[in-house]
Amino acid sequence: MPGIHEVQGEIERGPSLRKLGFDSKNLDFWDSGFVSFLIRVIRICGERDIEVTGEGLPEGAQRLIGLALAVPERREPGKDEKITPSLVLVTGGRVMKIWASLMETLTFVGETATAFLRLFGGKARFKGSDFLLVVQESGAGALPIVSLISLLVGLILAFVGSIQLRMFGAQIYIADLVAIAMARAMGAIMTGIIMAGRTGAAFAARIGTMQVNEEIDALKTAGIPPMEFLVLPRILALALMMPLLTLYADLMGILGGMIVGVGGFGIGLVEYFNETRKALTLANIWIGLFSSLIFGVLIAVAGCLRGMRCGRSASAVGDTTTSAVVTSIVSIIIATALITIGCDVLGI
């Protein structure tokens, strides 16, 4: 069988072709590829006012062609036109997009704040069992992974610190380093990142899927505000669980440091413990807990915001989850920076 371009070339070269026919006497097998080839030939002929007779073709192929050509091809204006956007257009579009997403975020934060006001006014409603379920899923469920990660972070901190400290024979300060780093920042940050990937993503995917299934619409028309019913319990649960998990992570991190200090550098167990206690002021712990509370709210808000703004398809749920995790992690790091600078200014 000749290729379509060959045929097209033949038709164009041929002196004023009037009529085109087919001879398929020796053809004993054909498939959809054959039919689509024929249709293209017929289209090319149609553009040049050449008459086509299908009589020489197998009967089945003739019928299929008839079916395919029965409904005219739909050409949507603007669908296949490709506009090459200018730099101004692209920049403008980006700015508009950023502006829209900023407004969206602000609206959501506003709605959340109103929902909280209603909660404190005793008017908001959500099911207590929902709240407890989220607490269980995001709190107790996260313990194993938080244990593992924090222990390892403690180990890493101790090893990295020891390289420098050993040069001065100051191995004992590994205890100070690990305790302060874990309590003040690393405990909260690591827990935050774990929770962003684990719980924030789950919130976004869960609420996003509800959006796809029209479940959110069903809540709205049933007069149950989704902000109160879905978002409030999640923010509350995470704001409660994050500090608890962080406290636990601090402990695990210190334990990790202790393993390295005691096992690897010959510091006595009691010695290490006492050094840790000396270094660990309450202010450090409070700063860590305060950060974790902020992170909890940020993660829950990011997850719920993305979920609530989810489109209506499976791929939209994927995008939603991705953007929830990215937003959470970025906002955690930015918040840490702000808190650290703030503490420095305040001299804590």
Binding site: N213, E215, D217, A218, T221, A222, G223
Partner: protein, 274 residues
């Protein structure tokens, strides 16, 4: 017969997503106790129209009046008051997946009627029994079939004994017998409770069996091309699109065949004679 009383009035409604107009200049009245059919080809904006009527989308032009009160001009509280008397069944069922069927229905009862969990469950059982799902109280939506989800969703829409029931393709994807049972249920609801029922469907059997009034949305002209009793429309409407729709594309063909019939016969005879 008593004078029909307007329940929902749609005035010059235009629906659009951005600059893409879905439907425009829709004006029709749904009377109290009507079984009102919203029909039209796939993708013509039937579900979108319902979303505008139940307050999920703000129309870009026009008004929706419930009992003479403009739905979109009032504040949020006003809208909630209207919606309190509206039950909606969504095309996909939209049952809350984290709750059992009984909890799905019970949640509404607990929210609005202030009943306790036990009583709510009792009423939920009754509603489920009405749609033929007795004994499925403790199933989660993911554990039942698509047709059962639709029925459960109707049960939830009926939970608060609404004045107006919106059903988005209630019999789509159901077997003929279940579909028929659903039609009977809809007729029964109207007869016993006087509920106004708005049904989005393109199931012809269902349209003629239950519809007392209708509106036809056309995809090409992006507006309504007819309204009225579907049976009357089938008998009298001259619009080709609507005739085709209401007769599955067979009506016009038959008429044309009849019109051409004589000529064809003559032709035939001429051939035989010749």
């Amino acid at each position: 017969m008593k004078e029909p009383e307007a329940h929902i009035v749609v005035e010059d409604l235009t629906m659009a997503f951005g600059t893409n107009i879905v439907q425009q200049n829709l004006t029709f009245t749904i009377n109290r106790g009507d079984i009102f059919i919203i029909m039209g080809g796939s993708g013509c904006g039937k579900s979108t129209l319902m979303r505008h009527l139940v307050g999920l989308h703000r129309p870009c032009k026009g008004r929706v009046l419930y009992d003479g009160i403009s739905f979109w001009d009032g504040d949020e509280e006003e809208r909630q008051r209207v919606l309190r008397h509206v039950g909606v069944m969504y095309q996909s069922g939209a049952l809350w997946s984290s709750m059992t069927l009984a909890e799905n229905i019970g949640l509404l009862l607990e929210e609005y009627m202030g009943v306790d969990t036990e009583k709510a469950r009792e009423v939920a059982s009754l509603k489920l029994a009405l749609v033929g799902l007795a004994g499925f109280e403790d199933y989660y939506p993911s554990e039942i079939s698509g047709g059962m989800k639709k029925r459960a969703s109707i049960a939830r829409a009926m939970a608060l004994d609404p004045d107006i029931l919106f059903l988005d393709e209630p019999s789509g994807g159901l077997d003929p017998i279940s579909g028929r049972m659903l039609d009977d249920l809809i007729l029964e609801l109207r007869a016993t409770l006087g509920t106004t029922i708005v049904v989005i469907t393109h199931e012809l059997a269902s349209i003629f069996a239950i519809g007392t009034n209708s509106v036809f949305l056309d995809t090409d002209t992006k507006t309504m091309t007819a309204s009225g009793d579907p049976k009357v429309l089938r008998a009298t409407c001259e619009n080709d699109t609507i005739q085709n729709f209401l007769t599955r594309g067979e009506g016009r063909v038959k008429q044309r065949a009849e019109r051409n019939g004589v000529a064809a016969c003559l032709d035939q005879r001429a051939k035989v004679g010749g």
